[in-house]
Subunit: 380 residues, 2 copies
Amino acid sequence: MHRIPEEVDTPDVLIDRDVLQRNVEKMAAAVRERGLRLRPHAKTHKVPEIAALQLAAGAAGLTVATLGEAEVFAAHGAEDLFVAYPLWVGPRQAERLRRLSAAARISVGVDSAEAAAAMGGQLGDAAAGIAVLVEIDSGHHRSGVHPDAAADVARAAARAGLRVEGVFTFPGHSYAPGMPVEAAAQEQRALDRAAGQLEAAGFAVPRRSGGSTPSALLTDGAAATEVRPGVYVLGDAQQLELGRCALEDIALTVAATVVSRHEGGPAGSTDGSTDDGADDGVPRRIVLDAGSKVLGSDRAAWATGHGRLMDHPEARITALSEHHATVVWPEDAPLPALGERLRVIPNHVCLTMNLVDDVAVVRDGALLERWTVAARGRNS
Amino acid sequence: MHRIPEEVDTPDVLIDRDVLQRNVEKMAAAVRERGLRLRPHAKTHKVPEIAALQLAAGAAGLTVATLGEAEVFAAHGAEDLFVAYPLWVGPRQAERLRRLSAAARISVGVDSAEAAAAMGGQLGDAAAGIAVLVEIDSGHHRSGVHPDAAADVARAAARAGLRVEGVFTFPGHSYAPGMPVEAAAQEQRALDRAAGQLEAAGFAVPRRSGGSTPSALLTDGAAATEVRPGVYVLGDAQQLELGRCALEDIALTVAATVVSRHEGGPAGSTDGSTDDGADDGVPRRIVLDAGSKVLGSDRAAWATGHGRLMDHPEARITALSEHHATVVWPEDAPLPALGERLRVIPNHVCLTMNLVDDVAVVRDGALLERWTVAARGRNS
């Protein structure tokens, strides 16, 4: 049974310090064994203290999604930052990139000749200080070009004065049951093919960057040189249900209180409107005070609910409102009491971290300290 | 065509000042005509300036979801606040309620004898300063008791020293196609029946509170005395697709930039893996830099996508990542250019407001000012 510190009010985000440390070290070791560099995605946690643990364990740098995140982590001493995003650079973004590149080694994504030309044009002489990686579509069909188009984008970037350093991809289609192995294979083929195209066009390709949390440990290092997993450090219900982590790997939970409790009943017992036949019974349930405004509302089609309960794996969060989680309870288990406090595992931890200003760091049920989510809301 | 102010960087939240004002006044007039009091739910916007507009237009008070929201609006001068939530009150919550009740008229929800006893016990002598409304389940099956159990809860509250003032319900099942009319009818029956039970038990029932944005204007005033719509003031894609508002009622949009653009292609054109047959073609699409970390990821089963585009109603947001919206484009319309800026209507505006620290207030494409989302993240 995991205790919630008495001084915590619900809902609140708890991070287990020991589980966090174990996750940091396990991934660092596994990636090192494969001969790859680890560049964890800091958009997952947005916390400088967690980034520092990752770097101390040997991470080669950090990945971020926005200039705003890069600015926060650079201000906290990060020396090598990859904005793994196809930035569209206007005058204000160019000024921010110039300042960033004075503070740290900066690389950014690009997936079109137009964006490369815009970036180089806006940066002017500063373009040479920015490395670019061409984004490849390895089957997720979001951003990224076909591997065979990578050389065209690289040439445009070079013409614009940018330093081409390699290729990257995000196998987002690995977030589905049965997909991690196939997506990891597609990722490697796409990186390999794109890198080959760049080399044929005369570019050196020192960086070939891939890897989501589901696929990172399936990357064999044949094509990639670095991986960018994010979620592994905290864990979430998606990774749990994909079989990519176990309950004991979950470092982040949301502390919540039972605020409403209902034994349920048959059809006709709802609102007194027994005569209209529109009612199919009332579920046996509790309601927790953690809703979508603290858990986030990502729910994949294959998910069993809107998150899981740490100590009650058989319960199901069947509905999520902004401030309520409706949890349907197994018939053969007693309903928790009103006022009882439970721990919820969110479906997608990156969204949870983006909803709170700080988190409670705990060990054995005791509150150690609070960490500020310094890059929360830095969307641009 | 709606312009985005040049000084705005994307993604950013825009609120059209004139549409906002019109929405405030229209709902105020419609509710007044029905002889009801309007108590708008401030969890939608979390902005003191918007609350002030609602109060100036005649709102009887504000509804909030948490003590934290109540504290923010009380600090900004709100005099009558209803925490429409079944609070579980411990010593710290009791102290906050005591302080709040010194600053404003405070009412809170209760849906069990246990919670009433806990609240009264913790408040001690201060209990008499807090009004309670018993929450009724009108068919949504979240929190709330059966109407016939309302009197038991009211008696427990009275025994605990609290002042019973009425009943409330949230017809959340009105958020589905074809449901607003039926849900509004169930809401009225449930309020009527519960109020009758309280009166039979000797309670006066001056407040009978109902009303979501979909059902508020369907409330005929026969059973309710006040309504608590929230979303109407800003509008969102859910209300649009439910037919409860029109495009010209949408006050909030998210400004976004086209960062990636793909004409698409047939099967086999994805990652070079033409030999594995696992690929069913690449969609013709753009990618915008507004993802779930600014739009929110609520998506009802009946929604056509993860939000809508204000000026391109035929486009569909088929996928949402944290920082990407993938927008599939009609075959017969030209794809927007890279760098073009578009306005996205989020599915659920309450989540969007909870993701940003401030918003850009605009009129005719010009930036008027920025408002702080003062109650953002106040989840407890």
